[in-house]
Every structure is written in structure tokens, then in C-alpha cells.
């Protein structure tokens, strides 16, 4: 980023080329509706776990899409799989299966997800 373009603070940037999107690919294959998310935040708004702790499914989904896997891996276990998010989603994303598949992906890939 020095010949041309612009410099971004390295700690903050989402490095598209460097990021590993294996987990996102795995989820996309197992749950194609994952691609439909428009990040409206309805899921986070209704979330049962979100009432008690910091947990935003919208944010975790976006991070997974971008390949920023640290926060998702740590936070996804907070989900109670209650299904309210799936019932609210206007795009028809099967959010319950997204969480389920994501957890499985992290289990399978382990350190390979980073």
C-alpha cells in the first residue's frame, strides 16, 4: 500500500487478501441462504442471548464473511439456538443453521481457520 493507493492503520484494517475465508466458504456450502444477509440487525435485536451479554449475530456474520474469525469463534458459543432470529429474518436466512455450521467449521478447521 505504498506505491499508490492509501495507507490504512494496520491494526484496524480488514486485509481482504490476507484473510482466510475457509469458515465462510464452509458455511456457504452447508447453508446457501447465508449469502442473502443484508445486515439489517433484526436477528441481533430479537436475540435471547443478546439480552444478557454482548452478542450480535449480525456483526459475527459480517466478520465471518470478511474472514475476521477471532471474535466469531469466541462468541458463537453464547447462542442458545432458540430460533427467534430465524423467525424474524426478512431475507429468510436460516440463521440457526448458520450458527450450527459455523460452530462445526471451527471444530473441524481448528487453527486452520486463521
Amino acid at each position: 500500500m505504498d506505491k499508490f493507493g492509501f495507507a490504512i492503520s494496520k491494526g484496524r484494517q480488514i486485509d481482504w487478501e490476507a484473510n482466510n475465508r475457509k469458515v465462510a466458504d464452509f458455511i456457504r456450502e452447508n447453508e446457501p441462504s447465508f449469502k442473502l444477509c443484508i445486515a439489517c440487525g433484526g436477528c441481533t435485536a430479537t436475540c435471547t442471548a443478546g439480552k444478557f451479554t454482548e452478542f450480535s449475530l449480525r456483526e459475527l456474520n459480517i466478520l465471518i464473511h470478511r474472514g475476521e474469525n477471532t471474535k466469531p469463534m469466541n462468541d458463537l458459543k453464547k447462542c442458545m439456538l432458540c430460533g427467534k432470529c430465524t423467525l424474524v429474518c426478512p431475507r429468510g436466512v436460516n440463521t440457526r443453521n448458520v450458527v450450527f455450521s459455523a460452530r462445526k467449521a471451527f471444530q473441524i478447521f481448528g487453527d486452520d481457520a486463521f
Binding site: 439480552k51 444478557f52 453464547k78 439456538l81 423467525l87 436460516n94 440457526r96 471444530q107 481448528g110
Partner: protein, 632 residues
Amino acid sequence: MHFEPFIIPFNIGLYFILIYVVTRSIVWFMELSRPDKLRLQRGFFGKAFGQSLKEIFLESLIHRKILKTNPRLGYMHMSLAFGWFLLILFGTIEADVFGESHLNAPYKAIFFKFFNPDHGKTAFEAAYAFMMDFILAFILSGLLIAILKRFSTKAVGMKKTTKLKTIDKVALTSLWLIFPSRLIAESLTSGAYGTGSFLTGSLGSLLASFLPAREAAYPFWWLYSLSLGTFFVLLPLTRYLHIPTELFLIFMRNSGISTGDKAGTFSEVQVHSCSSCGICIDQCQLNSSAGINNIQSAYLMNAIRNNDDTGEIAQNCLLCGRCDLKCPVGIELSPIRMIQRRNGESQFNYANTWKGYFRNRQNQVVQKPTSGNAYDYLPEKDSENADVLYFAGCMTHLTPSIKNAMTTILDASGLNWSFIDENGGVCCGRPLMLAGQDKEARELINYNSQIIWKSGAHTLVTSCPICYKVFRESYYLDVEVLHHTQFINNLIEEGSVKMNFLNKRVTYHTPCELGRGSGVYDEPKDVIRHVARLESTGFDDENSLCCGGSLGNIKLSSVKRRKIAFDVTAELTKCNPDYVTTACPLCKKTLAQATSTRVADISELVAEAIVIPAAKKNKRQNLLVRQSAGII
């Protein structure tokens, strides 16, 4: 009596299968847990013995359950099973009565006509021969249906039947060859000697008129023996293992053994008792409405037997219980599927050994990256003291009409009640369990249990059947757990509430988790009948359909759920009711998307019909006014 080489394949097959079945049964018996071993011993030598024999006769031979569900299919199974049994039974008697000695090797009975070609001349012999021919004809009629079924399932009254693997096809072919080859072999021999009855005799004379019958018969006796031998040798590798396994299963079940939460002998025996009859596929709405036809119970059993990865198959199921209800072998299909779902977390893995003739259990604990508790973030919660607790459930918060209706009803009851998840609570835990995550669910169960215990209540009322089921089955509570329809029914019976009659015609959709899942059929209907006219839909009680919303199926897309919901509401609105009623917030939401007829929860109807005495009407209002005025 000189030695005939063609009996060898049959003998090899027969002795092989007998030894195999005995060995396998002994292995299974040894693998039973100690309590189950005792149960089986007590059962075998007790009441269960007679009960089991009766069941073996009625189900394994006559196939009464299949006859009730699908007469043509039932006839097919019955003719093969019962017919073959009769053939063996009467054939053995035949050989002992009419043969040279009175205790013969099995082959003498099977190939009786070959060794006694002159038999059938006297009146009694002729009558006996007539009976044997009749039984053979009986079997062949069923065989015709079986062949037809492979080409046109509609002809047998089924929508779809099981797809077969190669080895199943080979075994099937040898099975199909047995009786026709017996027919031709016996006919040719009868034709050569001028004996035989209405079937073998007539066919025999016909064939003998243009063939050298005596010589032509010989290869068919070989074919008969070979097909029998092949069938017996392949039997343990195919679905036909269900024939001996089913007998063992019946004894075990009648001795009081049940599936439980973990894989074990009983689940193994059940898996092998599946005959792939296909009735579960026919019942399955994923098949008929959503076009998904590779995950039904028969396929799951197959996958488990073949040690395939069952992950996808096991998760893609509504867990509605319709297949459990109709399984003619009485296999606990849903519990076995749940075991597979939990398998992803830990437990036993099976490996096929001895070329697939045996399976060995290997312990394999799956490492999960998360250690410690997942829900440590849940806060300490104070409970209000109350006599009756109302737990709306997660889904009910998305159907506020139900919450409001229950608030009205609970207020009208005059009871000291508390809405414990009014501002949103912690999930009951069952959705986690349905996905196979029991350990995580247990954390939530413990948390909610604390709240319930601390309140000192004696009754817990919930609006969601999923919560209802888990409170009753997996929580260790000493309170009375009621679904809100049961609670309302109690109020009506006690005379605590008065209701007007709404002049409306309604149909009732039984939620899966409440009906088949928890056995609650009558109370909801009784409540409805107090306020409206209930009409039948043809899918009542245990035969009710699943709305498609199911939290039990984590894989199903919203498009396919809507398709199921459309088909279900079409049935529920056939008689043009004013409302479709249900007793589950998820069912309500799912069905409402698929019809323009109003879908209402039973509590809503009751709240509309309820007559609230003036003093009680303002109780909650008065409470609020006094609270905000700082009086209390």
C-alpha cells in the same frame, strides 16, 4: 437314498444362517447393560414370553399393522412371511408324516417332492398336497405384488418406496427366485410322475407335454437350492436381517427395554430390525410437500448399518413423530435419530468388521474446542414469590396476542401468579437438545430450574409445547407443569372462569410437541368446545400434520417450510372454518404465513370469550396505578 449334490447350497446356507443368528443374539445379549439383561431374563421367563409370541404371530407373520395402514402392502408382506412360515411348518410335518423316517434333516422337507415323487396318490396325500400348493400359490400372489411394486409404487398404494443398494438387489433377486423355481421344479417333477395338485399338477402336465420333464426338473431343483443358499448367506448383510432380529426385538421390547439417550444393544437391534418397508417414507411430509426423499428413517437406519456419516441425514428431520407412529416394527425412530445427532458430540462409533457381518463398538470421544461453560454470562436472578408461574417461552414473545390473552386469563383466575419471562427470559434448553447439544442445554436447564425453585410456586404454566415437553422430561421440578390449554381446562372444570360461546366454526391443528410429543390431545379440544364449534379435518390427534416450523429440523430452508405450511393449511381450511386454532406460537406463526384464514391460539379464543367480573377486570390496572402513585 443316494446322495444328491444339489442339496449342498441349501444346507450351507441354512446352517450358516442358524449359527450366525445364534452367535449374534448371544453377542447382543452380552452387550446389554446389567439392568436390561435382568429385564430380558425376567421377561423371557415371565409374562413377556406369551405376549411376544402373540406379537410375533400378529406382526412378524400376519403384519397386522401394515395391513391396517396399507392393505396391499400388508398382503404382500404377509403372504411372503406367513406363507413361507406355513410352507416350512407344514412341509416339515409332511416330511415327518409321509417320509421314510419321522425325524428328518431339513433338506428332506424342503426338497420333499424330489425325494418322494410318487407322493400324492391317496386321498389324504392329495388333500395335503392341495394345501401345500395353496400355500405356494398364496406366496406367489404376494410375490407378484412385490415385483409390481418395484416398477410402480402407486399400484401398491404408496407414493415412494425405498431405493436399494446393489447387495440388496442381489439378495432380492435370490429371494424372488426361490418360489418360482420351487414351483417349476415341483411342477416338472409332478408332471414326470403324474402327481401334484391343482397348481403343480396342472402346470406339470402342461410342461411335460412338450418337455422331457424328469431331466428338465433337475436344473430347477439346483436353482431352488442355490437361491435359498444365496439368500441365507447374504441375509446378514442386507435388510433381510430384520427377519431374525425382529424376533429378538419383540422379546426385548416386551421385557420393558427402551432406547434411552445413548447408543446401545437395543438401538442396534432396532436398527437391524428395519425391513425398509417404506411406510415411514410415505408418512413423511418432507417427502410429500418438500420433495426431500433421502433422509427418512429407513434411509437413516440404512446409513447407520453401513457406517455412513449420518450427520446430514440425522439433522434434516422435522422430528414430528409421524413415522414413529406408523412403523410396523415399532422401532423408536425419533430416539434413534436423536442418538445420531448427539453422536457428533461424543459417544460410540461403530466399525463394520468380518466383511460387514459384524459391527464393533469403538469409543471415540470427539474433542470440542470449548471447555468450561458456555452460558456463564447469565446473571443471578431474583424470583418473585408466587403460587403460579407463567413462562411464555421464546417464541411466544413474537406472538404477543398469546401473551396478552394469557395475562387476561391469569388475571381473571384470581390466582397469585408471576410472569417469569415477561421481559424475555432464558431459553428452556430444548432447541439445544434437538440439535444434539445436551451438555449445553443442561446449563440452561439448571439456570431456569433455580428460578422456578426459588419462587416457591406449585404450578408452572407455559404457552409453548417445546418448553412444556422439556420441563416435564428433562427438568427435575417438583411443581405441576401445565400447558396453558391444560391450565385453562382446569379453570373451566373448577368453575373459576365463565365464558360466552363464540358462534364460530374452527379447526384445530395439534402441535407435534404437544400431541405426539407429550400425549396431550383432549384438553385443548375440550377447551375449544367450550367456546366454539370444533370441526374435524381428517388429520386429528395422532394423525395430525406438522406445520413445518419445527425447531427439530435445523437444515430446512424457509421456502420448503412455507411449502409444507401451504399444504397443511389447505387441509385445515378445506371445510372453510372461521378460524384455524392451534396451541403453539411457532405453529401459529408458521401457519399464518400460509393462509388468509385467521390463525388463532386457543388462549386468544378464550380471552375473547371470557366473562371477567368487574372487580377482577381492573386488578392489573389498579396494581399499576397504585405502583406508579408510589402507594406500593
